[in-house]
Amino acid sequence: MTALLLSGIGHAYLGRTVLDGVDLTVSAGEIIALVGPSGCGKSTLVHIAAGILEPLRGRVLARYARHGMVFQEPRLMPWATARENIAYPLRIAGIGRKARQARALAAARRVSLDESDLEKFPVELSGGMRQRVAIARALVLNPDFVFFDEPFTALDVALRRRMQDLVIAAAGEAGFAALFVTHDLFEAARIAHRIAVMDPRGWGISGERVIPGVPGRRSDRDVFEQVARYLSEDALFRHVNDVDERRLA
């Protein structure tokens, strides 16, 4: 069953085309990693899919009930406590204060946040804790689809790995589908069922590969060898690690 269908998506900023003719399908319960060189329009695509941006061309067909989203920066409200930040989507949905508190606590437990941390403000939390709060906020509505926009790029290697494990565990437990934008092939190969590679100029999806094995059950050796194979033998991944600073806004 299809959870998300993007067809013929195109977008332009101030007349400069950044996306054109992008087609992508995500099945229910499936995690797709969207990779591509920096500046190829991955973030724009996921913003369009999540309804933040209106696409210039094409259609977004969402067949899921609710979605959550995790951004590259935590994007927490500095004036609100961790608990209020986690409960924010519930507030938008018009759920009462009592129920919000209880559900925020449940979501915090899912990402191993301590109850004592919930009364702290974002400035009092470390970078990793803030991103945990952001993930709890994305999960608080029990979404069946989650958008991740390079969520762990700013974290150090050890912390990134723990966050990846957290997402893998949460996805395994809740069975949500996800579109996970990253430029780290190792991250993609750990978390996803399938990798979609974006064209360096944003002109559609260049190709897709199904990653052997199940997320969370692949050993580090499997992941490493798989990525090495992609980079050395598969022409699809030739431009993934290209960086063109001029295109980075």
Binding site: I52, H67, F71, R75, W79, Y88, V123
Partner: protein, 273 residues
């Protein structure tokens, strides 16, 4: 229940810290009084009455019920002008912050309002309204509106677009984004502007009263001047300052501390006290 107790304890602690920190402020005030005393000893009581004599005059004035009414008149006028100016200024500022075209239209007007000295408005308002309440309140409004307007407009313009996108991703409509995100951000910008506007409101109210002999503290000042009673004049000034401090620390600062609770949490350990 425990939550309420904890919240109460937190606020009591904040008030206690604030009172404790006022020792530093008091020492500055006493230094000022010492300089004042030195000036008194150098120039004599007719030019500059001593701080003690002035406080005696304040007590004497405070002993009469009628003088309390006079002080309340000024406070009432200043507060009425301040409240109207804040509401109008913030509403207009928020609208202008969302519309770049409106802001471009409003900028020269703000410069004009800020640039014309209050004294000019007082003269105009005297011609329009005579020596009435309305004249003082109008002058206060004209002097305070630009401050609130600029604060609110800056707040809306500098709001965090990232948070806006986040809220949009979770399905928030424009009203929810405004009420939960933009208003909080505007608050952070508007409060310092409101403190400034409140001071301006008191200053301008007293000035208008002096010039138009419209009663209130300014009326008292005008009377003291015509009697060449310098210590009474200084006493009225002191009363106006005390009223301003009472309103600022009794009304504006507690609201600000409550809204900006997180900023205190952001301070490193040890500087909170």
């Amino acid at each position: 229940m425990t939550g309420i107790m904890a919240a109460l304890a937190m606020r009591t602690g904040r008030a206690g810290r604030f009172i404790w920190s006022s020792w530093a402020g008091l020492s500055a005030l006493f230094l000022f009084c010492a300089l004042w005393q030195a000036g008194h000893e150098a120039y004599g009581s007719f030019i500059l009455p001593s701080p003690l004599a002035t406080s005696h005059s304040v007590l004497q004035l405070a002993g009469e019920r009628a003088n309390w009414l006079i002080a309340c008149t000024t406070v009432g006028r200043a507060l009425a002008g301040f409240l109207i100016a804040s509401l109008a200024g913030i509403a207009a500022g928020v609208l202008a912050g969302y519309s770049a075209a409106a802001l471009r239209l409003a900028r020269p007007l703000v410069t004009l309002l800020l640039g014309v000295p209050p004294i000019a408005w007082i003269v105009l308002a005297m011609i329009w309204f005579g020596s009435t309440n309305g004249m003082v309140v109008t002058t206060v409004i004209i002097a305070a509106v630009p401050l609130a307007f600029v604060g609110a407009a800056e707040g809306v313009m500098t709001r965090d677009r990232g948070l806006d996108d986040m809220a949009r991703a979770f399905g928030a409509d424009a009203w929810v984004r405004f009420s939960t995100l933009a208003l909080r951000h505007v608050g952070a910008h508007v409060f310092p502007a409101l403190v400034l506007a409140l001071g301006t409101a008191f200053k301008v109210a007293v000035m208008a009263e002096v010039l138009a002999n419209a009663g209130g503290v300014g009326g008292g000042l005008a009377r003291a001047r015509s009697n060449l009673d310098v210590s009474e004049a200084l006493a009225w000034v002191l009363i106006a300052v005390i009223a301003l401090i009472a309103v600022e620390y009794g009304l504006i600062r507690p609201v600000h501390a409550e809204v900006e609770r997180w900023r205190e949490a952001a301070r490193p350990w040890g500087i909170k006290r």
